[in-house]
Symmetry: C2
Subunit: 348 residues, 2 copies
Amino acid sequence: MHKKWIFNQLMKIEPQIMAIVIGTTDISLIPGISVAGASPELTHYTPALDVEYLLLGMPKTMEVIPVTPEGIPTPALVTRAVAGEVAKLVVNAGSRITPKVPYVDLGGEPGRDFRRGPALSCEAARNILERGRALGCELGRLGCIYIGESIPGGTTTAMAILVAMGYDAWGRTSSASPNNPKELKIAVVKEGLRRVSAPLKPLEAVCEMGDPVHLAVAAIALGVSECGGVPVLAGGTQMAAAAALYKGLGGDLAKLHVVTTRWIAEDKSADFMGLMEIVGVKNVYIAGVSFAGSKYEGLRAYERGAVKEGVAMGGALFYALSKGKDVLRLVEAEYERLLSAGVAGNVN
Amino acid sequence: MHKKWIFNQLMKIEPQIMAIVIGTTDISLIPGISVAGASPELTHYTPALDVEYLLLGMPKTMEVIPVTPEGIPTPALVTRAVAGEVAKLVVNAGSRITPKVPYVDLGGEPGRDFRRGPALSCEAARNILERGRALGCELGRLGCIYIGESIPGGTTTAMAILVAMGYDAWGRTSSASPNNPKELKIAVVKEGLRRVSAPLKPLEAVCEMGDPVHLAVAAIALGVSECGGVPVLAGGTQMAAAAALYKGLGGDLAKLHVVTTRWIAEDKSADFMGLMEIVGVKNVYIAGVSFAGSKYEGLRAYERGAVKEGVAMGGALFYALSKGKDVLRLVEAEYERLLSAGVAGNVN
């Protein structure tokens, strides 16, 4: 009985498509705030490189996959290695560098530094909401849709969105770095908040203090659930911001699912479960994977808090585990392929 | 036994997604060559309006659905009415007017008048081929993918592509008009051919004499079949050009399916089955629907050869029939809705 229930739950959230929403925010250019790229400037290339590599097996815009300044590889590696057979759909919510692979365009724009002025124009936000919802509706007809993200600086804009909407998210979002630069992120958000009078409505919070990606994730999830599908947010603490927007825009949290990695759930520098709780997310799943036994330093680093999430890694691992896959073997094989091709950075 | 075989065949080509590939060619601006719009200039709006209406139920860029100069409504009406629950994905191969709904961009460009010079730049054609194929591969993981089109002037560029590749397609493509302007189309293609020395290779034929859409359809079909899916070209005589490109680019015709309407199959001004034969298409399906009993003149006109195909209408009808739907009732109900909203042109 219990086993059957679990099986049914797993079937219910088996992805038909993984939508990967990409975008940039100029917040990622602030030195020290993001390690989703080898340098602050390179963070603007990370979303494009992530999805090029995810779809094609090789990046196109540059000849290297995204790495942290320490050379730890992008979570896209894990997503590709363990869920290669799942259909992927790239969605561009607003990126300074657009990828050289097919992507759905939502008519958005890259996010600006919210300390200096509004992050997004009203028109871009309206486009993202309307078109994301229409896309989600079409995808929802297929059944279960995973929605992942790639946006360097996203844990800072997620905190900003949540705080601007009135949630106490101060210092509770995670980081791709083992050393979460919480004080810097809090200071940046506080500086931005000076321009506005919180709490703001969902769309205002995004336009003033957000970025294109979290709104697009929420809009797609709304559309999926409105057209009979099952939306699954595949990401870490950032998905608390997406879920808050989804809820604030009228979405039913009973229909929403969030799935992430153990590395996020166990991150003591953040508060994933607490954020899910204050937003009211009911269905949370954790992929209990360990890379501690890997022969590669670049993968063992995940156990020390490097990377943690992104590009739907938690969702991909959750799916792969439900299929009984040997995920570490698959990830190591893919990492070997990238190392021998010379596109995987300098740590192994 | 026989019934079961038919059922299995129908299951095999039940669409997971309908991809609607849109684009424009300046050939449609030649007076008299296309009725896929109320005037030659308006033909450039038709693809955008078609897909806006298909996804949202109302056009956005203008407040009217595409109609012929006589006011006969777009085939998108039928596709929406009978296959509304199938997931749609809009793919922009190259359009002068881009739609205000989410669409996948392939990095192509609008087709130019091939009488004056090449129809497409090499870069645009390469993008369309590479990205269409990558998109098709992802979609193919889902199973069966219908690929439809909306490109006014497409029966002329289809003839041009086929002839440029060395097929005898002179005067054998269909038309959305009951009076197929074959002599005009032949004269236009002949004028273009003066610039080149046929036969040309597939990509050369497209760049010199084609348009963005037929190449995108072929590229998506290639990707679908390469990644284990079932590609179904949902369209009329134009799909002979797409199938020829698919074959010329290395695609396996045994894996390719074409489905269209009875109106195309029975069009005496064209030669649908003959074109399929010379290209070598093996799997052809016809949706045997009649609108003769409709109470609306705008729909009875389909029986006199108006419209005939487009926006995957034949595929949508084939799918709806296999589900046992009362298609005429559904189409009339949708037409009534559009008439009462005042967006369906002037014939009823």
